[in-house]
Subunit: 374 residues, 2 copies
C-alpha cells in the first residue's frame, strides 16, 4: 500500500457538513457531505454497470456525516437523516477526478512539429491493438495524423474510420470525392487554393473528424496545409486579449446552400467553455455570412477577425505536406484547420474524404490502452 | 416596388468609413465600409454557388466608400484604395440578417401544449412535400413530434430518419432495441423508471435527435414523458438567476462505460452561447459523474442542480403519453428531455430507437418550404 493511499486522519466539521481527509503523505482534501452522499458507490446508489441510480431529489438537502470509520484503505460513513451507509475507497476519494479529465492536448507549431511525428504505416497500424492506439493518440494529442501506403482503393477511407468509429453521413454522401469538376457546388471541387478552414461549420453539430485518402496525385501543387487552431487562438490571446474576447463573444452565421441542401448555423469563431477551456475553432472564410453583430462592435470585431486570419497564415503555424497516392490524413475538425494550395487544372488529383466523430475515436483509444495495461 | 425597398437617401460619413441609408418608410440603417466591401456580391468576390472568394486579408483595412450611385432598387458603390466596385440590392441591405437567423423555438408546458398539437399520421406524412415539412416544423418549433400508425416493422425508425437526414451510428448500433433484458449494460434496457434526461451527454457531440418506434406494448406502465428543457431553464432563471448562472458556468463530467466503450465528456448542464442564446440542456442523473467543481462553489451548485431537477419534475412541464404499437416519437435531444415511468417486468414492451442530427432535418425543412413557396 502506497503512503499516498493511507489515511492519516479524518475530521468532520461545520455541523457534520464537511469532512476533511489528511493522507499519510500530508495531502489534504475536503468534501461536502452532500457530495459524499451523492457519490456513494453501493449497489442501491449505483447499478453494477456504473450508472447512478439515485437522483438528487432522493438525497436530503440537510445531509450530514454522523459516523466515520477508517478501515484499511477505505472509509465507512454513516449519514443522517437518511441513515444511509457508504463505503469509499481512499484512492478513489483522492483521485476521482482523474477519470473525469479529458486527455491533454499538445499545441504545436512547425518549429518543433513535423510530419514524421504524426505519420505511421498502414501495414503496422492495421494490426490494431497498441499500434492502432498509438496512432489514434496522435489525433487525441495533436489533432492530426497521417497513414502512408493505404491501398489506393475506393472507399478505403470509410474502412479506416471503421477501425475506431462510425462514418458520419451527410448530404455530401457517406464519402465525397475531391477533384476538379465542372459546375461545382463547392469550391473544394475546383482547382482553386483553399485557405485553411474548419470543414462544415454550417452543420449542427460540425463534423468532429475529417479524413482524406489520396487515390491519385500526378499534378503540380495541391499541397495540403494544416494549422493548429488552438495554438493560433492561444497566440491571439497573447497578442491581443480583446481580440480573443471579441471572437469568443459573438456568434457569426455560416451557411451552405445548393440545389439539395440549405445548411445554416450560428457559432462563435472561438468556442470557449465558461470555465475558459477551448472547445472549438470555427473558421471558414467561404461559408461565413454577413456579420450581424452590433454596429458599434463591428470595427473591433473586424480587426480581431483579420488578426486571427493573419496568425493562421504564419509559416510557423503552417504544416505543409503533399498527399501522395496511398496517403490518408485525419484531422480533429474542431481544432485543426486544413487547406491546400492551388493546383493545375485538368485532373490528376483525386482524394476521397469522409467525416466521423471524436467520441468513438477517444473511446476506442481508451479501450485499447486499458487492454494494454492489463 | 414596396416603399420599404425604396431608398430615400444615402449619406457617407466619418471620413467615408460609414454609410447610412434611409428608406422611404423612414427605416434607417448604418453600415461600416469594411462590412460593405466584405459583403460585395460580385462574381470576383463570390462564387456562383454563393461561397465567398475573398478572404479578409484581401480587403484593405483602411477601406472607404468614395462613390455612391442610387439606381432603382439598388446601390452602386466604389471603394478606395482598392478601386473595387460593388452593387447591392436595397432589400438585401435591409433584410440580410433574416437568412442568418435560426428558426424561432416556441417554449411549451402542458397547460397549453398537448399531444394532439404534435401528432400526425404516417400515411399523411409519407406523401412528403408540405405534409412532411409541417411535421418537421413541429420538431423545429417544439422540439418534439409523434407519428401514429407507422408500420410496426423492424428498422422503420431508420427509414423515417432517411426521409429528412442520416442515421447517426454509435456503439449502440445503427439502431438499438429498448426492452427489458438480462444483464443490461444500460438502465434503459431494464424495466426501471427513467427520470427525464438528455440521451448520451457523454458523447462528443451528443446526438441531436433521438427517435423511438414502438413495435410492441402490451404491459402496464411504461408511459413516456417529455419535458421542454429550455422552458425548464427559463423557469430556473426566473426563479433564481444565480442558480441558472451556476449550471451555465461549470462543466460537469459525464461517462458511459461497458465492455466495448468508454465515453467521457465535460459539459455544462446549461449550455448558453456567449450572447445568452440557449444552445443545449445536458441533464442525465445516471451518466453524470462526481462533480469536480471548486469546493467552495459546490453547496450552491448542488442547490442549483436540485432546483433544476425539481423544476423538471413539475407536472406542468411533464407531457405524458403512452407509445402504442406503430407510434414513433422524435425529440430534439439538445433541448427536450425524455424519460419513462417504470413498467411491469417480463417483456411485452419493445421499442427500436436511433439517433440523427439536426442540421439535415433543418435543411430538409427549409428546402421543402422553399419549394412550397415557388
Amino acid at each position: 500500500m502506497m503512503a499516498e493511499h493511507n489515511i492519516l486522519n479524518v475530521d468532520v466539521q461545520n455541523a457534520d457538513r464537511i469532512m476533511t481527509i489528511v493522507w499519510e503523505d500530508g495531502h489534504r482534501r475536503s468534501f461536502h457531505s452532500i457530495w459524499l452522499r451523492d457519490n456513494c458507490r453501493c449497489s442501491y446508489c449505483r447499478h453494477p454497470n456504473g450508472q447512478k441510480l439515485a437522483s438528487i431529489n432522493e438525497l436530503p438537502a440537510d445531509i450530514r456525516v454522523i459516523s466515520v470509520v477508517c478501515e484499511n484503505d477505505g472509509l465507512h460513513l454513516q449519514f443522517s437523516p437518511d441513515n444511509h451507509s457508504a463505503q469509499f475507497d481512499s484512492a478513489w476519494l483522492r483521485n476521482f477526478s482523474e477519470s473525469n479529465t479529458l486527455p491533454q492536448k499538445t499545441l504545436w507549431d512547425v518549429e518543433w512539429f513535423s510530419m514524421a511525428e504524426i505519420s505511421r504505416d498502414y501495414a503496422h497500424i492495421r494490426t490494431g491493438g497498441a499500434a492502432l492506439a498509438e496512432w489514434l493518440e496522435l489525433v487525441v494529442r495533436y489533432g492530426v495524423a497521417v497513414l502512408h501506403d493505404v491501398p489506393a482503393e475506393k472507399e478505403m477511407v470509410c474502412n479506416i474510420v471503421e477501425w475506431f468509429g462510425y462514418v458520419r453521413e451527410t448530404n455530401y454522401g457517406r464519402l465525397f470525392e475531391v477533384k476538379s469538376i465542372a459546375d461545382p457546388n463547392n469550391l473544394a471541387y475546383t482547382n482553386m487554393p483553399l485557405s485553411v478552414h474548419t470543414d462544415n461549420p454550417y452543420r449542427d453539430p460540425p463534423p468532429g473528424l475529417q479524413l482524406f485518402h489520396c487515390l491519385q496525385n500526378t499534378i503540380g501543387g495541391g499541397d495540403s496545409i494544416v494549422v493548429d487552431g488552438f495554438m493560433a487562438a492561444k497566440i491571439l490571446a497573447e497578442e491581443n486579449g480583446r481580440h480573443y474576447d471579441k471572437l469568443a463573444r459573438h456568434a457569426v452565421p455560416f451557411r451552405f446552400c445548393d440545389s439539395v441542401a440549405d445548411l445554416r448555423s450560428r457559432l462563435p469563431v472561438l468556442d470557449i467553455a465558461p470555465d475558459g477551456v477551448m472547445r472549438a475553432v470555427n473558421f471558414n472564410s467561404r461559408a461565413i455570412q454577413a456579420f450581424d453583430i452590433p454596429f458599434d462592435e463591428q470595427p473591433e470585431y473586424y480587426a480581431a477577425y483579420r488578426h486571427f486570419f493573419e496568425i493562421l497564415q504564419r509559416p510557423k503555424l503552417n504544416l505543409r505536406f503533399k498527399m501522395e497516392v496511398g496517403d490518408l490524413s485525419i484531422v480533429d475538425n474542431r481544432r485543426i484547420l486544413h487547406g491546400r494550395v492551388g493546383f493545375e487544372s485538368g485532373g490528376g488529383r483525386h482524394l476521397q474524404g469522409c467525416y466521423a466523430d471524436s467520441d468513438a475515436l477517444l473511446s476506442t483509444w481508451r479501450m485499447l490502452r486499458s487492454v494494454g495495461k492489463q
